[in-house]
C-alpha cells in the first residue's frame, strides 16, 4: 500500500494546550497547519493538573518573570476563553505553621513589584466567605486566581484552530522525523506518523515542524538528533466528593507539596507534589503521596483527612533543563523556545517546552513569531483579542448544567447523574467529535468523573454509542468530524441531525467493539481509584463491582481477550499503593 503523503507549512506535534495554542495562533496568522496528537487532545499534562488559572501569586517570590507572565495571560484568557474559566478568586492564607515566616511580607512586596493584584483582608472576612477554612489562619491575601477546565481549554482552542483552517489529527503518533542534507546542513522535512485508528502510516511534509510534545518533547527532538533535556516532574492531585471551598486556597509560603486547593466544577482538587521521574508515562501514585495530601489538606481545611476522596491522578510537568542549570532545582517554570537551526545546526525544527498552562497563549505567540521569522512574515498575532467561542461570552458558572437541565426538563435524559451529562450531550460528542474511547467522552463532557466513577454511566454510555452505531452506522471520524466542542458542555443543546454527519464504515475495527469500550473505561476508572479506596468510596466501589460482576457479568462478555492499541495504557499505569505510614 503506498504511503499517504500530506503537505503543510507547519506541522505541530502535540495536542496539549501548547500544541493547540500554536496551531490556533499560526492558523489565525494565515499559515497552513497540521497538528498531530498520538492520543486524544489533552490526554497528557493539560488534562492532568489541578485546574488553577494562575494569578501569578504562586510565583511572585520564586520566579517574578513567570508571575508577570501569569497575570498578563490571566487577564487575556478571561476574555478569549471565558467558558473554560470560573472566576473563583484566590486566597493566600498564613496557617499557624507558617506564622513565624517572613514569607508573607515578602509575598506582599513581590506582588506589588510584579503587578499581581493583592489585597489583604481580615481573616474573619475570609472565614465568612469560606467557612471551612482553618480558623487559626492569621493573614489572608486575595488575588485574582481562577479555576480553569483544561479539557475544555484544549478542545475549544483546537476548535478555533480548525475554524481558522488548521487540520488536527488525534490518535496519530509520530514515529520518526525525516531529515535531508541541504546546502547548509541537516534539515527536518517531514514526519512519519502512524494513524492508530485507521492503522496506516502517513508522511507529513512540512516547511517547519514545531515540537510541542510537552514532557515528551525530548524524545521528539531526539528524533532529529537534537538533545533537549526534559526532567519530567510528576505531581499528584486528588479530587474530593464535593466542593469544600469556592475560592482557590493557597498556603502563603514557599511553594511546596499539597499547598493548594482548587474548586473545579463539583469537586475540589488538592495538589500537588513534584517528583522527578525517568519516564513521563510513569504515573504511579505512591501511598506517601496520598497521605501527604491528606495531611497537608488538614492544615487548610480542618477535617480534610475525613473528606471523601473520589480519585487520584498524576501529571508530569515538562521541566526543561537548560544546559547551564546546575541541578534540577534550578529549573525554571519559564518556557523555553529553541530554534534548532541556531542551537544545533538542524533546520526546520523548533521546540517549545517548559512553561505553564496559564501562559500557553504567550508561548504560542512567541513560537509562531519565531516560525514567521523562519518562514517569512504573515499577519500579526491575533490570539489575544480573538475569543475561541464567540457565542459563549460568559465565564463558567457552577450552576450552568443544573439550570439547563431544569429549564429544559431534561432529568430523564441524564446518562451520568453525578456530572449532569445528558444523552444529547453524549450524542453530540460522538457525532461531532473525534471520539474513539469512552475516556475521550469523559474529557469532552465529564462522563464518569463524579462520585460513582462510572458505576452507572459506563453501561449507559456504551448502550447509547451502540445505538448510534447500529441505528445510524455512525462511527467516530477523526478527520471529518465537525468539532462543535463549544456545544458539548451544554445539556440543553438538541443533538444535531444525524444526516448532516459524514458516515464512515470502520465498524469492523476492534476499536469500536462495545465490550472493549466498556472494559477499557472500567479499567481506566479503576486505575484512578485504587490509591484512594477506603471508607465511603470503597463501599461505592463494591456497588460498582456488584453492577459489573453480578448484574452485568461484564467479565464474561464475548471477545474477552480483544484489545486495542489504546487498551494498554489503562493497564500499564494501574498501580497499587504501598503501605501507608502517616501517624494519626
Amino acid at each position: 500500500m503506498p504511503m499517504r503523503n500530506l503537505h503543510t507549512e507547519i506541522l505541530v506535534i502535540g495536542g496539549g494546550v501548547t500544541g493547540v495554542g500554536v496551531a490556533w495562533d499560526a492558523a489565525l496568522r494565515g499559515f497552513d497547519v497540521i497538528l498531530v496528537e498520538r492520543r486524544d487532545l489533552a490526554h497528557g499534562t493539560s488534562g492532568r493538573f489541578h485546574g488553577l488559572l494562575h494569578s501569578g501569586g504562586r510565583y511572585v517570590v520564586k520566579d517574578p518573570v513567570s508571575a508577570r507572565e501569569c497575570i498578563h495571560e490571566n487577564r487575556i484568557l478571561r476574555h478569549t476563553h471565558a467558558p473554560c474559566i470560573e472566576d473563583t478568586g484566590g486566597f493566600f492564607v498564613v496557617t499557624p505553621e507558617d506564622a513565624q515566616s517572613d514569607y508573607p511580607d515578602r509575598f506582599v512586596q513581590a506582588c506589588a513589584q510584579t503587578g499581581v493584584p493583592c489585597e489583604e483582608i481580615p481573616p474573619a472576612q475570609a472565614l465568612r466567605e469560606e467557612p471551612r477554612l482553618n480558623p487559626a489562619i492569621s493573614r489572608v491575601f486575595r488575588v485574582p486566581d481562577a479555576s480553569i477546565d483544561g479539557f475544555q481549554l484544549v478542545h475549544l482552542t483546537a476548535q478555533a484552530a480548525r475554524e481558522a483552517g488548521a487540520r488536527i489529527f488525534t490518535y496519530h503518533s509520530v514515529q520518526d522525523l525525516v531529515l535531508t542534507q541541504d546546502g547548509g546542513g541537516p534539515r527536518v522535512v517531514a514526519a512519519r506518523v502512524h494513524d492508530t485508528v485507521g492503522d496506516e502510516t502517513l508522511l507529513i511534509h512540512a516547511d517547519l515542524i514545531i515540537n510541542a510534545a510537552g514532557a515528551w518533547s525530548g524524545r521528539i527532538a531526539g528524533m532529529a538528533g537534537c538533545q533537549v533535556e526534559i526532567v519530567p516532574g510528576k505531581g499528584i492531585m486528588m479530587a474530593t466528593a464535593h466542593r469544600l471551598v469556592n475560592t482557590v486556597i493557597n498556603r502563603c509560603k514557599w511553594p511546596s507539596d499539597g499547598d493548594i486547593l482548587v474548586p473545579a466544577h463539583t469537586v475540589s482538587i488538592i495538589g500537588t507534589t513534584d517528583t522527578p521521574v525517568a519516564d513521563p508515562e510513569d504515573l504511579r501514585i505512591e501511598a506517601w503521596e496520598v497521605a501527604k495530601m491528606m495531611e497537608e489538606g488538614e492544615k487548610l481545611i480542618p477535617g480534610f483527612r475525613h473528606a471523601r476522596i473520589l480519585r487520584a491522578w498524576a501529571g508530569v510537568r515538562p521541566l526543561y533543563k537548560a544546559k547551564e542549570a546546575a541541578s534540577d532545582r534550578d529549573i525554571s517554570r519559564q518556557f523555553a523556545l529553541l530554534n534548532h537551526r541556531t542551537r544545533d545546526g538542524v533546520a526546520g525544527l523548533i521546540t517549545i517546552t517548559g512553561g505553564k498552562l496559564t501562559t500557553f497563549r504567550l508561548m504560542a505567540e512567541k513560537t509562531v513569531d519565531l516560525a514567521a521569522q523562519e518562514l517569512g512574515p504573515r499577519r500579526a498575532c491575533a490570539t489575544a483579542s480573538t475569543p475561541v467561542a464567540p457565542s459563549q461570552k460568559d465565564l463558567y458558572w457552577l450552576g450552568h448544567r443544573l439550570r439547563e437541565v431544569e429549564d429544559h426538563h431534561l432529568q430523564h435524559e441524564l446518562i451520568c447523574e453525578c456530572e449532569l451529562v445528558t444523552r444529547g450531550m453524549l450524542e453530540q460528542a460522538v457525532r461531532n467529535n473525534p471520539t474513539v474511547t469512552l475516556d475521550d467522552l469523559r474529557r469532552d463532557v465529564r462522563l464518569g468523573m463524579g462520585p460513582c466513577q462510572g458505576g452507572f454511566c459506563t453501561y449507559r454510555a456504551v448502550g447509547v454509542i451502540h445505538e448510534l452505531q447500529t441505528g445510524e452506522g455512525l462511527v467516530p471520524d477523526t478527520e471529518n468530524a465537525p468539532w462543535q466542542v463549544d456545544r458539548l458542555t451544554s445539556p440543553g443543546q438538541t443533538p444535531s441531525s444525524p444526516t448532516s454527519f459524514p458516515r464512515q464504515a470502520h465498524t469492523t475495527s476492534p476499536l469500536y467493539n462495545p465490550n472493549l469500550l466498556l472494559r477499557d473505561f472500567l479499567q481506566e476508572r479503576w486505575k484512578g481509584v485504587i490509591p484512594i479506596l477506603w471508607g465511603q468510596q470503597l463501599k461505592q466501589e463494591q456497588l460498582d463491582r456488584l453492577i459489573y460482576l453480578t448484574l452485568l457479568n461484564a467479565d464474561h462478555l464475548p471477545d474477552p481477550h480483544l484489545k486495542s492499541p489504546l487498551t494498554d495504557f489503562y493497564h500499564a499505569t494501574a498501580s497499587l499503593a504501598t503501605p501507608s505510614s502517616d501517624p494519626d
Partner: protein, 422 residues
C-alpha cells in the same frame, strides 16, 4: 419487651433469619440502617457461579464446593456443609411459592443455568423468579429483546448483539415509553408501578403483539409490575402467546425489591416480626463473652436493645458491615470483630479491575465456627450469643463467586437453626 433474637441487617440474610427464627417459635426483631443489596441485584439466587481464577462458569454448584474449599478452606459453604445449603435453597423455593413470588431453576433442578445479563453475557444462577426463566441460554428459541425509547437503564440492541456474537439468534426492537407512562423521568421502579395497572399492561401487550415472530421468546426489562407482578406477567404471556422473560436492569432492581417486599410483608403481617429501618448501631455492651445490648442512633434519641442473642447480617463493605480508613485499617462496624483483611492498603487490590482472582480485600472477613459464631485467630469464640449471616465471612468473595444469595440463605439457615435457648 426484649426479643430473643435481635437481627441487625435487613438484606436477604437478615430477613430470612427473621423468618426462620419466627418459624422456630422465637420472638425475633430486625433492625437495620436500610435495606440490603437485594435492591441492587438481579433478584436471582446465585449459589456459586465461578470458582476463583476460573473464567468458566460452574455447572454443578454443590459438586464444585470441594474445589472451592480447596482454594478457600474457611469459605462459609465449608462451615455450613452442602446438605444445609440445599435445605436452605429448598426452603426458600417453597417459601416464595407460598408468598406468591415463585422461584424456579433451570431444566435440571440440581445445576446452574445461564440467564442473559442486560449486556447479553451468560449469568450462572441457580434459582430465578419464574418470570426470568425463559431467558435460559441453553434453550433454542430465538430472542426478541424489547427496549423502550427513552429508558436510560436498558439497551436492547447491545444485548441482542452480544447474544448474536455467542451464536444465539437475537434481534432488538424499541417501543415508545409513553405506552407505559406519560411521565418522562423514570426509573425501572416507576415503570413497574405503572404496569401494575391492568389497562397499562394490556396496552403494552397489544402494542407488542404485532412485533413477535412465531417461535420467538420475548425479553423485556424487569418492569412487569411490582405488587401484581405474577398477574402482569401471566397476562402478557396469555395475550402474546409467547414465552416472556424479564431481564434485570441497573439498580434500583425491581425483582430484588419485589422479593424484599414479599419477605418483609410475611415477617410483619404473618409472623409479627418487627422490621425497623433507620437504626444504625453505635455501640454495644458485652459481659463474659456475651453481648448484653446494642445501642442505636435514631432520629429522636439513642435506643438500647437487649436480647438473648444477636445475629449480625450487616453485609461486609457493601452493606456497611465493614469499613476502612486512609491508613489501611479495616474493621467490622457493630461488634468490632477481628477481620482477616490485611491492614495494609498496598495488599488490597489487583491492578486489573476485572481480574478473575478478585481483589484480596474483598475475600477477607470474619472467621466463624460451624454454628456461625465469630471466632478469633485461635479459634476461640468471641461472643457466644452472636451469630453471623450473609456477606461477612472470610475466604469468600460473593460478588466475584456469584454466591451472594446462596451464602445469605445457607448461613441464615444454619445460624438460626443452631440457636439454643435455656
Amino acid at each position: 419487651m426484649p426479643s430473643d433474637l435481635l437481627i441487625i441487617g435487613a438484606g436477604l440474610a437478615g430477613l430470612m433469619a427473621g423468618i426462620h427464627a419466627a418459624q422456630q417459635g422465637l420472638r425475633p426483631r430486625i433492625i437495620a440502617t436500610g435495606f440490603g443489596a437485594t435492591h441492587w441485584t438481579a433478584g436471582t439466587i446465585d449459589v456459586l457461579g465461578y470458582l476463583p481464577g476460573d473464567p468458566e462458569p460452574v455447572h454443578h454448584p454443590f459438586q464444585a464446593v470441594p474445589q472451592l474449599l480447596a482454594q478457600r478452606p474457611q469459605h462459609p459453604y465449608g462451615l455450613v456443609g452442602v446438605p444445609a445449603l440445599r435445605r436452605a435453597l429448598q426452603h426458600f423455593q417453597e417459601l416464595t411459592t407460598t408468598l406468591g413470588l415463585p422461584y424456579g431453576g433451570g431444566r435440571n433442578p440440581h445445576t446452574n443455568f445461564l440467564l442473559p445479563s442486560p449486556l447479553g453475557a451468560p449469568r450462572p444462577t441457580f434459582l430465578a423468579p419464574v418470570a426470568q426463566r425463559a431467558g435460559d441460554m441453553t434453550r433454542e428459541e430465538p430472542y426478541l429483546i424489547v427496549g423502550f425509547r427513552g429508558m436510560r437503564d436498558f439497551y436492547p440492541t447491545l444485548m441482542a448483539e452480544n447474544l448474536t456474537r455467542q451464536g444465539h439468534e437475537a434481534r432488538a426492537i424499541f417501543l415508545p415509553l409513553d405506552l407505559i407512562t406519560p411521565q418522562q423521568d423514570n426509573t425501572p421502579l416507576h415503570l413497574a408501578r405503572a404496569l401494575d395497572r391492568e389497562a397499562v399492561a394490556m396496552r403494552l401487550a397489544q402494542a407488542l403483539k404485532s412485533h413477535i415472530q412465531p417461535g420467538e421468546r420475548v425479553g423485556l426489562p424487569a418492569i412487569l409490575g411490582l405488587e401484581r407482578h405474577q398477574q402482569v406477567w401471566g397476562l402478557m404471556q396469555e395475550i402474546l402467546a409467547a414465552p416472556i422473560f424479564e431481564i434485570p436492569t441497573l439498580p434500583p432492581s425491581v425483582p430484588g425489591i419485589r422479593l424484599t417486599r414479599a419477605l418483609r410483608r410475611h415477617l410483619e403481617r404473618d409472623l409479627q416480626v418487627p422490621v425497623d429501618l433507620g437504626m444504625t448501631v453505635m455501640d454495644f455492651h458485652a459481659q463474659a463473652a456475651r453481648v448484653q445490648w446494642v445501642r442505636t442512633r435514631a432520629s429522636a434519641r439513642p435506643l438500647k436493645h437487649r436480647a438473648q442473642a444477636f445475629l449480625l447480617a450487616t453485609g461486609g463493605f457493601l452493606g456497611g458491615g465493614f469499613t476502612s480508613d486512609t491508613r489501611g485499617r479495616a474493621w467490622e462496624t457493630v461488634f468490632h470483630l477481628p477481620l482477616t483483611i490485611p491492614q495494609d492498603r498496598g495488599q488490597w487490590f489487583r491492578p486489573d479491575f476485572l481480574a478473575a482472582e478478585g481483589h484480596p480485600i474483598f475475600r477477607g472477613g470474619l472467621r466463624a465456627d460451624a454454628e456461625m459464631r465469630p471466632v478469633d485467630t485461635t479459634g476461640r469464640v468471641v461472643y457466644e450469643n452472636v451469630r453471623l449471616a450473609g456477606d461477612l465471612f472470610t475466604d469468600s468473595d460473593p460478588l466475584a463467586e456469584r454466591s451472594l444469595e446462596g451464602v445469605a440463605l445457607a448461613t441464615a439457615w444454619v445460624a438460626v437453626h443452631g440457636l439454643k435457648f435455656a
